[in-house]
């Protein structure tokens, strides 16, 4: 099985492994409407699943800037936004929200000192955008660019300065956020309430399908045959405890004639997840249902603890090996 496909299957796990945090019901107002999609996760410390995972993530030996920031200023919500691009790589932004103000002189200085490790020689260029100090720099070994800015209790970081500016625009209210879209609101009502992790891909203007196709050409594998016929797609996952996840992924059809293809995709995706995880001795149950223009893949996975431990310890490669 091709690696990109497997990586797609475990996207939600990756998002968690990529340090994403949020509160149930939050509407990710920071990601502007021209993004391809976003995911948000809450850390509700009273939720046993999320609490276990946060502990496992913090306890894992791998270090990164966000983990260092979390230790100083516990985060309660993180949103990851993915933006379209003409090139092969996809610019992304992470907006991490803390319960504390991050924009004070001391906090800013501390965050800047942590962030110095992200770029070559710790060198950032500082510019001003919408009243925020936007720091941009180049990663070591030509690994692309990196930037961040702080706004109140939020830290926005990412791989593309333009995407960061769009986040600032959405935060300032000059650009509508993705969460204002009708499809987002519609699909949000169709996933289980209180989901710990929610992701949404918008496709009214084929932004998701075009982005996916570009990747598919590179991978020489089509992940979703029906991507062009989708209006949007949303997933909601609940981390019941460290070992069990329940959730559903809802596909909304733009073209009702494509329901069969969408159902085929949902079935295939469910089957591929089952096959990936049955090999790792994880129990997986799934069900695909169709209701009007909506196809829903509901699932339950058990026995995930070893997988998450590997993920937090060894990183994404542990899932792809």
């Amino acid at each position: 099985m091709k690696r990109p496909f497997i990586s797609f299957l475990v996207i939600s796990s990756l998002l968690l492994g990529s340090r994403i945090i949020a509160t149930p019901g939050s509407a990710a107002p920071s990601v502007s409407q021209d993004a391809v999609g976003f995911a948000e996760i809450s850390i509700n410390k009273s939720d046993p699943g999320v609490a276990w995972m946060t502990g496992a993530w913090l306890g894992a030996p791998r270090s990164n800037s966000l983990k260092s920031i979390y230790r100083k200023y516990p985060l309660n919500r993180t949103v990851v936004g993915i933006y379209p691009s003409a090139g092969a790589s996809l610019p992304f932004v992470v907006v991490a929200q803390s319960g504390k103000n991050l924009a004070g002189e001391v906090e800013k200085k501390e965050i800047l000192s942590i962030m110095r490790h992200e770029v070559a020689q710790g060198q950032y260029n500082r510019s001003n955008y919408r009243g925020y100090d936007l720091y941009t720099g180049t990663r070591s070994n030509n690994k692309g660019s990196f930037g961040f800015f702080i706004k109140g209790n939020e830290l926005a970081l990412g791989t593309d300065a333009n995407a960061l500016r769009k986040v600032a625009d959405a935060s300032a209210g000059t650009v509508a956020p993705m969460s204002a879209q009708a499809d987002y609101r519609d699909l949000r009502s169709r996933i289980p309430a209180g989901s710990d992790l929610v992701f949404f891909f918008a496709n009214q203007q084929n932004q998701f399908a075009n982005t996916l196709r570009k990747q598919e050409r590179k991978w020489k594998l089509s992940l979703l045959l029906s991507s062009g016929d989708l209006a949007g797609m949303m997933g909601g996952f609940n981390f019941v405890d460290g070992d069990k996840i329940t959730g559903s992924i809802v596909f909304k059809a733009k073209n009702p004639k494509a329901i069969r293809d969408i159902q085929d995709d949902a079935n295939f995706m469910g089957e591929a997840i089952r096959r990936k995880f049955s090999h790792a001795h994880i129990t997986y149950k799934k069900q695909v249902t169709v209701q009007g223009n909506y196809v829903t893949l509901s699932f339950e996975m058990k026995g995930l603890k070893p997988l998450f431990k590997d993920l937090f310890t060894e990183g994404v490669s542990s899932l792809l090996k």
Binding site: M1, R3, I6, E216, R217, W219, K220, L221, S222, L223, L225, D264, N267, F268, E271, A272, R274, R275, K276, S278, H279, A280, K321
Partner: protein
């Protein structure tokens, strides 16, 4: 004109030229239609192959046009559009293979299988032979191959053998009758030539059908080993019931130059249960195949059906022309 014809010398000269032209034409026709023993495919497999494939591309096959088109695209693209290209085009069409067979043999204790290919050019061999040296140097590189005589055939083999990593590693070849044999293992090709019948006894290479046929034998666990290797490598359950599959027969008949229709039959010796896991495995295989072919521009539609002895995936593939171009492109990329 009448006066000119009255000139006896001229009259006989013209008559002589006419006779000469007709004679040349007759000689060409006799040469072209003269008998050349076709490749006797039945005599090539000394053991039961684990994979056997036949690709017909004779004059009646819709595949021929597509395959010629792609070869033209690859070989003649640098020639522009002049007379040279036109002549090359005609030559290619006349010399294009009518049938190709491929075999994979496995031997106990051997890590790599033996790959054997037989290409039958039909009458086109007469033209192909003109470019034989060029073909040999394309196959074996600039260093001319070592040649030995075996039963009247010339066995060519690389002076420095390639380590066989896959189906493209050719180490030996031989021209027989109307065809060319290529093999990864010179010793195996020698054995084939030693038992190959005299030219006059050679059989017919006329295909039983226009369909592409592939037979993969799993009695000795050839496919199971491959699948389990990839399952281990990717930590993924690809085809859990592969140990129940005794053979896979693929039969794809061209409907036209762009569409193939046929089936993949996964045969088993055990009776299939109502909700046999093999059905789910074949369904998943179909899903993977559809999704792998889509980025190449090929649309696959089909369904899985089950009978007493096999799970069959009945399919229709469109965009076949694009598919072959893609294969050419991928091969070219691989070679770079």
């Amino acid at each position: 004109m009448a006066n000119l014809l009255k000139n006896k010398t001229l009259k006989y000269t013209l008559l002589g030229i006419g006779v000469l032209l007709v004679s040349i034409l007759i000689i060409i026709l006799l040469w072209w239609f003269g008998y050349t023993p076709p490749v006797n495919f039945e005599k090539l497999a000394l053991e039961t192959p684990v994979v056997q494939a036949q690709i017909p591309s004779g004059t009646n096959s819709p595949l021929r046009g597509v395959l010629i088109g792609i070869t033209e695209e690859k070989m003649l693209s640098s020639m522009g559009s002049g007379l040279k290209r036109k002549v090359a085009q005609i030559g290619l069409r006349l010399a294009f293979p009518v049938m190709t067979h491929a075999y994979v043999f496995e031997f106990p204790g051997e890590e790599t299988p033996v790959y054997l290919y037989a290409i039958d050019f039909g009458r086109g061999i007469k033209l192909v032979r003109f470019g034989q040296d060029k073909i040999n140097s394309r196959l074996f590189g600039n260093e001319s191959p070592e040649e030995t005589q075996v039963q009247g055939y010339t066995l060519m083999q690389r002076k420095e053998q390639l380590t066989v990593k896959g189906f493209k590693d050719i180490n030996a070849g031989a021209w027989i009758g109307s065809g060319l044999l290529l093999c990864s293992d010179p010793a195996y090709l020698r054995k084939v030539l030693e038992q190959y019948p005299e030219a006059a006894e050679a059989g017919s290479s006329k295909p039983a059908s226009d369909a592409i046929q592939i037979h993969i034998d799993n009695q000795t666990g050839y496919m199971e080993k491959l699948i389990r290797y990839y399952e281990q490598k990717f930590a993924f359950e690809l085809f859990a019931s592969i140990d129940q599959v005794s053979a896979v027969d693929i039969n794809l008949a061209p409907v036209n130059g762009d569409t193939l229709k046929g089936d993949f039959a996964f045969k088993t010796q055990n009776p299939l249960q109502e909700d046999d896991p093999m059905v789910s495995d074949v369904d998943f295989f179909y899903g993977v195949l559809r999704r792998t072919l889509r980025p190449q521009g090929i649309e696959m539609s089909g369904e899985t059906v089950k009978d007493a002895e096999a799970v069959k995936l009945q399919v229709e593939l469109t965009g076949f022309r694009t598919a072959l171009s893609q294969i050419e492109k991928l091969t070219a990329e691989d070679n770079q």
